[in-house]
Structures are given as C-alpha cells and as structure tokens.
Amino acid sequence: MKKQLTDQELDAFLKGKLQNLNSEVPTSFWNEIDAQIPTANQAPFRKNKLMASVALSAVAIAAAAAVTYTVISLSQQNEEVIIASEQATAKLRAYVADSIQQDSLPQIDNSLVHTYNTINIPQVQKLTIDENAFAQIQNSNNAPLLVTEIKQADTEPEPISAVSKTITEEKQENDNPILDTSASPISEQLSLDPKPIVESDTADEQLTKDLIPQKNPKDRKWRFGAYFSPSYSYRMLDDVDKYYYDLIESSAFAWNASLELSYQINSKFSVSSAIDIEQYSLKTEVYAANAYLSLNDELAYIMGSYGYTPCGLTVIQNSNTDFIQSTCLYYLSIPLQVQYDVYKSFFVRAGLNYSLLVGTHTNSHLGKDDLYSNAAYLRRNNFGLILSAGKEISINDKFSVIIAPQFRIRLQSMLDDVDFNSNAYMLGLNIGLRY
C-alpha cells in the first residue's frame, strides 16, 4: 500500500539520498583547475590589474594636465589685461602726481580713464592724498600714491576726469601752494578734502589697505596644499542585502590625507589634483545577546558561517557568540577637482577621483577569540565622486587655511564578483593648509 509522504518525510528521504551521492570526476577537470591556481610567489593582485591601475593613473594625470593647459591658454588674455592695468595704474598715479606738483588740472586721456575704471576701484567719488603718500610723491613715482574714499554708492562711478577736477577745485579753494615746504607741514597743506578721510593712523592703514591691492595667497597661480579629513564612512547597499547588513553594520571613523597642487585659472575658478590616501572603515557587530539576531536563522548565513563582510569572507564556527569585526581599507586616490569661488572666501568644489586599493586590515573577534580574516572580493580599481563646500581663510600673504565639509562616494561597487552592489561613501571635514 502506498503511503502519502509528508513534507518532512519526503525531505528527509531526498536529502539522505542526495547527500550520500558521490559523482565521478573526470581527470581532465583537475588539469584545467591546476593551470589556473595562482602560484605561491604571485603578487596579491594580478599583474595585468596593476598595469591597468598604472595606465589609469597615467590617463588621469594626462587628463588633468590637458585640462590645465587648456585653461591656462584660455586665461592668457585675462592675464595680459591684469598686467596692462597694473602698468597703466602706475602711469596714472605718476601722471596725477605730476599734475598735482605742477598745480594744474590733470589732463586725463581716454586710455587712462578706461584703465582706471577697469581696476578694482569701482566706486571712486573723491580723491585725497595722505601725507605719507605725498612724501612719496616727492621721492618716487612708483610708490603707492593715492588714497581713495570708496563708497558703495548706488550711482555710477564718476569718470576720472571729474575726480581730478574735484582735487583741483578744492586745492584752489584752500589757496594753498602745493609744494611750499617753507609753509606749514605738508599734511596740512594737502587738506584737499574739507573733511579729511584719514584722521588716524588706523583709519589710514585701513584705507590704504582698501585701495592698494594686497598680496593674497590666492594671487598665486600655482599653489600647494596639505589636507587631512576626519570622516565617517559607511556604504550604500542595494535593496537585496541592505536588510541584513543594516542590522549588523555601522559606520566607523575614517580619514583621508592628501597633498594637492592647484592652478588658479581666474578669480573664480581653479583646478586641482592630488595624491590622496584614504582609509575607509566599517564595523560589523553581531551580538548573540541580541534576541532578534539569535532567534532568526535568516542571519545564519552571515553570522553562523560565512558571509560577504566588507572585507570578504569570514568563517565563524559558533553562531551563539558575539562576533565583532572592524575593517579598514586603504586606497591611493588621484582626484581631479574644479573649485568655484562663490562669494568672497567661500567656495564649492566638485570632481572625480580614481582609487586603487593598496591595503587592508581587519580585526575580527568571536567572543574572546581572535579570528583570522582577510580581504576577498574587493574591487581594486574604483572611480568616485567628491563634493565639498567651504571657506578659505588667509593667514598671511602666503598661507591660508581651508575648512570644508566633504562627501565622497564610490561610483562602483567596492566588492567584485558578488551579486549585490556596495558603494562606499565618506562624510568628513576637510581641513588643510594652502601655500
């Protein structure tokens, strides 16, 4: 009489039969496997991958150089304008000084007016001369001569001829000889403005500072920078495995440090590249005491045996013991970024970076026992996106400090040959010094 098998009986029957089954293995199988087993002295990652990494690095550097060259070429015209303005400004100053000395109305030609209006003094309303500047007029035509009262007026700036006229008229009203050294001190003689703007040394310095272009670290075309960014790192998983990993993984402290070379294209844009070391970290914690994790065998695949932890395969014998693993992955990155100065010293940056995995370090503990684990299935080469926004604070004419929150994300999965995507990302604060 036939018996209707229950599910359990059927499962036990089939399992018993299949588990005791041994297949006959053709001898040719071994030969094919043997030919592909890595040799003992083989590098940790294959030579062709290393070559690919080097080639990619070269391409990235060449791309950066090409972009820089193009940008330099495009900015040549602007550079000439700046030089011309500086030269013309000096000429203008000398011309005005001469006119003052001769007590005559300066005759300003159109080219000087144009030049004067293109330099960074957009709202000139009055001109006056401080005593230091005047002393320098007597000695040299090359030193800074003019102190200007700059007002943020709504009206259009007056042309330089009107400004010059103001100077002359006020001088005539005061009826003081300009260069009468036998009379009262020069500073009193040159009270061209009825209410002098410069009333104290401090104000004088401030006005001079406002008018005369100050040396700024950003004036340099080529600049070096050193940065360090403490960060938190984690990873984005696709929907399939996110459920499991979110239960046991948490973000961890990470960092990146870089040496940067940047080129200032114009007053707003600069490009930069760097050599960058990134440490990406992640923590995996599976506590046996956690009721959910202990009672649900869904996690057995990860906690009870082995799973694709961030650093690959880890074997765990006893699923009833706490498992803690911290993973550090080290990447050598070459970023290529563009910076846009939004307002004053505030800027935004965006760019791509190429990363090469250069090292791994894991600490795994099962209860009180240390576990051996190592990297596996990790993608060696990866491309990423970098976004940051921050502020550059000038310390002096050479150095400035950068403070910028930044976000980095890998555009490719950090794991290779596994059936889910895992994109690492870091959120940090980039702090640096630029020269």
Partner: protein, 179 residues
Amino acid sequence: MRELIEGCIKKERSSCKQLYDKFSAKMLTICRIYTRNSEDARDVFQTGFIRIFENIAQLKEPDALEWWMKRIFINESILLYKKNARYLFDETMISDTSDKREVGDKMDGEAVLQEVQKLPMRMRQVFCMYVLDGFSHKEIAEKLGISEGTSKSNLHDARNVLRKRVSNLYSISETTLQE
C-alpha cells in the same frame, strides 16, 4: 587537515591536489544538483575550486573547511544563473519520461538526482537551498532575488512534483524511508 590547508595556502601543488581529491566528488555532486546541465556543473566546479584555492588563507578553522567549500559552490552556481538570468525564464518543466521501475528496486542517489534535475531551475534552486542546505525562505528570497512567497510557492510545487515522481517510480514503504 590543518597541514593540508597550510600547504594549499602556500600554493603547494601536492596539497592542492590532495584537497581536490578529497572533496571533488562531493563538490561535483553539489554542482550537479544546483546547475542546469553538466556543462554548467563543470563551470561552477572549476570556478569554485579556483576560488577556494585563491581564498583558502581566510579559513581559520580547518573543521569548517567542507562547509565553507560547499557554500562557495552554492554561491557560484547561484551567481552563474544570476549572470545568465534568461535560464530562469525560458525553461519549462521537463516532462516525466522516466522509465518506471519495478517495485522493490533499490533506490539510488543518481535516480533521485535525475528527478531533482528535471525540476525547473528556480524550483530546483529553492528546493535544494531549503531542503539540502538549510536556507530559510527569507534568505532564499534575498539570494535569488525573489519574494518569500515565491520561494514558498516554488518549494511547495517542487515537493509535489517530486512526491509524485518518487511515488510513481517506487513503492515507498516506511521500511524504505527508515533506510
């Protein structure tokens, strides 16, 4: 066993061959159970062993070796069909053309394997993962990219098909089951 593993870590050919000889038959069976045909089984078998030799340094506990290896082959077979997803959709259930055996024939593993191999790929994967390797429905769903309900439904269908085939082929008595 520890010495064997250490030899494999050092990529000593003799140790690798020894490990291969020890487990190859059993692992090929797993590959055959989980794959669609002998060619796929061969691919998974070879890829799996290469993967094992590349990563055996990660194995801390020698006692877990067989289990670890088995998981690698299962994962590789799942991965194979994920990369070639079309297999999962164009396959129709193979009709039951098995010769009926006489009552009392001794049932062997090969015959059971043949019956299991006749199941459609998805149904076979779910059945093997659940019954043979102890995966839960949730885990199967995650690994295969299907819903839990689909996993349960596939298991139910697989059991019904196999129950019918086994019952038709053999007269299964309680005595047989106890063997």
